[in-house]
Subunit: 342 residues, 4 copies
């Protein structure tokens, strides 16, 4: 049995732990051979492979990133891409493929399974924790820890200078990182994409904080937006940036708060720091278990499935369940955090 | 409404986060007053209280330990203890009591609820994660992170000197910390109380590691024991210590490995470092939510219950469910980790 | 003897450790009383004081920020400011003043000492490490550790996606943080204010890195500038920002690298995260010793002096020596790092 | 030019950074070839070598331990050892040797330089910071940070349970780690090998701490001893251990404090955790610079010298200067810390 492995999409702490889990279990318990494909779906598309055996996975457990490389290449987007994937897998003698990725990467896997019967097993990956069908994805806990540590540090600066500090964290479509790190870091305002915020209310919370001689921390997900979204454009700040990826809602918000409350406001955009480096213990544990269970699924011939965490168990669900819609923050859960606002 | 709060048993990162969650929600949303009782059940027993209002919980979220203090005092063990607890609670005008603790502390709460109708709500606490009825307890994730970081550090020393390094972690009756940190840290042997180990097999794993020019890390829970438990006593090492609390199974094991394999072996006992200091983001999040939901239970008059984590939801269960038996590591889960041994 | 204490300028990990050292030694060894002045020179200017005794400094050693607050207020800038400072100090019965601050705050102290004979002792503070007359200032080591950890994390993202990652660190006039964290983090390019960089050379280094299949990390001090400084303005990116404080040279540089090399480039601006939170062990040790020695200077009546680190000794130098000119990175030291570029 | 490199003695965070600095500078600036010798002096003695070129040092900067391995082998202790070292170096075509080690390893280098004219350059290494002729050695700052973080964590446990916590840190002959981490961690007692302690005084400090409702942390270097050293033996605790390396003065001290003050006391022995894992930014910077300057010394033909840190400069001193006597804590410096005792 020869099993292919690829990692696609944005990198995420824990990818290497998954790969190690797969190879250790596959080789030692089932005598499988493995072929690593480079840079997500680009590997099978172009026949770009990398050795993947026990020595190759030695020492990679605590390291961030992925030894296989990653990309957002989609074989369905290139002429004859699907056929080339099939030919390259056949040329390598690959019987089954373990695909580690998010919505897009797994979406390709699901389609190849449905359309050409490709024997795939999926492993969910998104640092934003917004994949349905799994309680948590690896990488998320690491990101939340990094963001929380940053908030801890910003508290002292905020209080020493009595300034508003706005922290922009990841989360384009879902506010999980903002919600968890905001709660854990003792933020005074948490803004998420699922709930359009009212700028007056935000400024009210900020001012109430100053009234008791404390300086507020505002945590904002990169995808959060004010109730009147047009004001972001009308205000012009975002528009003239040119580099939306860095100078986003956090900076706009700090400027607005400063203008309306008269209090000095500063922004910190955590950016890529959140997704690199050594994974937390939880993420290493989850990623390792995902790897082990993906091999079990291959052994059982249970293809078209994805491993997923349900409470403390790793289970299998149809890949399509995970990619059908994203998992957003429930309004009731967000409301729960409201007691700490202001 | 006046609500009492106490924390009992061994300290645990996240206790202060629970207390803060309770007070912030209770005061701001329901207008409750709070009375803190000092040092677990000693507080109600002796009428020793401490102010517990919004200013008292400011800034405590990231701090380990408990501002209320803790003890293992049991009112049922002292003559007229139960009556004195009742009188002191009445004297303070306390209508309901939120009890944060482990098996013993919650056991007292359950009994007082059953026997004298005390209006109690429980919050589970054990750094060992061995309480039934909840998927996780706060403090556990912090302990696992600390142990994992220590294992990371020990790897480099082991490899530089080609030595065996034995790491003794907490876990008297359950091996959760050993299992999680051992998996996350890439240990080559993990020994837990639930499964008596075979010393020959352990030495075999150690030797197979050296054969590929790597130095092994052995993670052992403080409560782990060899198949022939008598040999620990016969060997005499433990017996002559006098201080079993520090010089336990880890040191015995290193001595045995050194004797049998001829490889230098060293022990590190992590001890109290695992339970102190700032909580991880997960533990702050979990502890905060436990605090918020405990207040909900008080508001609903749902006494005799304990908050618990089920997947990503906080639910309520009878306190007795949690204290009836400890939650141990399932043999199948332990077997899963076996692929990494040796 | 009553001694006043104030902290001025930007906050810096270790300020609280200095304050604690002063109070512990002053009270316990010399029986001094202390008066804390709030928010730098604003305190003496407006007579705003805060209690400063043993209980007030309990537990503050590991905390970032300053319990006294800070500001950039300058009594020489306000009509009758100097006279009001004198009056307020007299009203409080303050015999001597310990001033903890950077170039500006200490400059005021030096002038008040020279002009009105104010009995001042200075403690140097700058996170940028750019004060003459001392080998190191506290806060710097913490900032370098935070920046290094961020660079560690960014390496894995850079390599997984084969992207250029530009990290902008503090250092408006001196490149100490960039140089130290760049060396410690294994950066492939380090750019500092003391040395105008050649954009072509930077792009050459970036490309040579990709040739050996590695992704480069560029560390740039916020005050670094290209040889042709006008190009930053001509390019227009900086100009249209409006918020120079956040969207600075790092973002401009990433845009230029992307345009010229065709490689994807991303920027991370570490910002305020570098100056908050718990101080490193070195900074706590240095700050504590500065506090102890400042009290010694008061006891010796050695006013107009500042404590300073020389190798491993704390010595005293005239305050003016520290504020006369900033300490920049020596060209030879910068050249030493050049072996790692590209 | 072919240059040999070896690392001897106990491992230390930063060894790999030195090796990388040597190879990067030697290859890129001078076109040197390098030969790595395995396991300290065992390498040249037995002719055991390892490839040492640019790819071999890639990615090792942040890793603890040493890729060359280490040992305490001494060629002077084995019959014909010196001759064999000479023969093996000649066989490898090695023109000069860079020796990274402590007192013993460098002592061999100095003797070989003096007796047979071996062209050696030394790099000082000791985690204890007790080598003369250099202000700091790499690894020390990392150890102090780890010990300080542990003390931070133990504070919360101490206070929650009102217990004495004794922390045993490294330092057999010099108390640098104890002094720095004790000061940085806010310890209430610091005991070092240079100053025999009075047990009554220690118990007095412990009790005075409890009087103000605080729980004391006692930091003790492994080599610290009571004034009456015989009492340690008479008490019998140490004697019966068999494993002096782990169950040392810390445990004895906790038992004595508990007996005399009646307060519960616990010991944590940090052990090997202090010397493993990723180096701090300072240690990476210092180790890298030591590597670069060792190559400069080879280039200059300046043999028999060792690189050393003086303030912020790296200088060269005769190897003998460093190994003549150990650098201990000055009584005045220790006295300075005394204000925090009790």
């Amino acid at each position: 049995m020869r099993v292919g492995v690829l990692t696609g999409g944005g990198d995420c702490p824990g990818l290497n732990a998954v790969i190690r889990g797969i190879v250790r279990k596959g080789v030692q318990e089932h005598g499988y051979d493995f072929t690593g494909f480079r840079d997500g779906w680009r590997g099978p598309l172009e026949g770009d492979t990398v050795r993947l055996d026990i020595p190759a996975v030695r020492g990679i457990l605590p390291r961030g990133g992925t030894i296989l490389g990653s990309s957002r290449t989609n074989p369905f987007s290139s002429e004859g891409g699907v056929r080339r994937v099939q030919e390259n897998l056949a040329a390598e003698g690959v019987d089954a493929l373990i695909v580690i990725g998010g919505e897009d990467t797994l979406g390709v896997a699901a389609r190849l399974h449905a359309e050409i019967g490709l024997k795939v097993v999926g492993v969910p990956k998104t640092i934003d924790n917004d994949l349905s069908a799994t309680d948590y994805t690896f990488g998320f806990d690491t990101a939340v820890n990094i963001a929380t540590e940053a908030i801890d540090r910003l508290h002292t600066t905020a209080e020493s200078h009595m300034r508003v500090l706005v922290v922009e964290v990841m989360g384009r479509h879902a506010g999980w990182i903002a919600l968890h790190s905001g709660l854990a870091g003792g933020a005074n305002v948490i803004l998420i994409p699922e709930h359009r915020f009212d700028l007056d209310q935000v400024c009210g919370w900020v001012e109430s904080r100053f009234k008791i001689r404390y300086a507020p921390i505002v945590v904002v997900a990169e995808g959060a937006m004010p109730r009147d979204g047009d004001m972001v454009l009308k205000d012009g700040t975002l528009d003239s940036f040119g580099h939306v990826r860095l100078s986003g809602i956090g900076e706009w918000l700090a400027a607005q708060i400063e203008k309306r409350t008269g209090k000095e406001a500063r922004t910190t955009v955590l950016g890529h720091v959140q997704r690199g480096g050594t994974p937390s213990a939880f993420d290493r544990w989850l990623a390792t278990r995902f790897g082990l269970h993906a091999v079990d699924a291959v052994r059982d011939g249970d293809f078209g499935k994805m491993v997923a965490l349900r409470a403390t168990d790793v289970v299998r669900v149809p890949i399509g369940d995970a990619t059908a819609r994203i998992k957003t923050v429930d309004p009731a859960l967000y409301a729960e955090a409201g007691v700490f606002f202001g």
